[in-house]
Amino acid sequence: MKQHLQRQSGVANVDVSLIDGKVEITPKEDGQIEPAQLLKATYDSGVSVSELDMTVSGKIVKDSTGNLSLQVKPNQSFVPTPNELSKGLEPLVDSGTVVTVRGQLYKKPAGKQKKADISAPLKLLILEVKKDR
């Protein structure tokens, strides 16, 4: 699985802890990492993902449908799951302010479902907001 993940674009380093089942991925400085691809690569290597958290910096914009979105690159953005923290980001829409947030992008559904649907669009549940500038 580690080799599988290291082959993904934008990945600089992968740390795997067998004891607590934790996988830490460090992106390349100038690379573009695609979390959905990381999920797929992990499942493809025969390992099930129970949770994917990430720390991401980006600008708050509204997409074409009027939804709040955290834009990282012109071709990469994440729609936050509405909560108190995402509401607090609304005043920053189109302000150009770069915010850093920690959030949960994926959580395996509870129950006996054998394989989670990782093809569905991923929403970012914001857990913590850190304003950069």
Binding site: G21, D30, Q32, I33, T42, V47, V49, L52, G58, K73
Partner: protein, 35 residues
């Protein structure tokens, strides 16, 4: 001449730094079934 170069360097820094800031900084996964 040196001041011009310095000014250009600062200008380039202002243009590129905000773009570099926007990025995924860290990803952490909890996995099951790992051997």
């Amino acid at each position: 001449m040196k001041r011009e170069h310095l000014a250009l360097l600062l200008l380039a820094g202002c243009v590129f730094v905000p773009q570099l800031e926007a990025q995924i900084r860290h990803v952490e996964m909890r996995v099951e079934g790992m051997t």
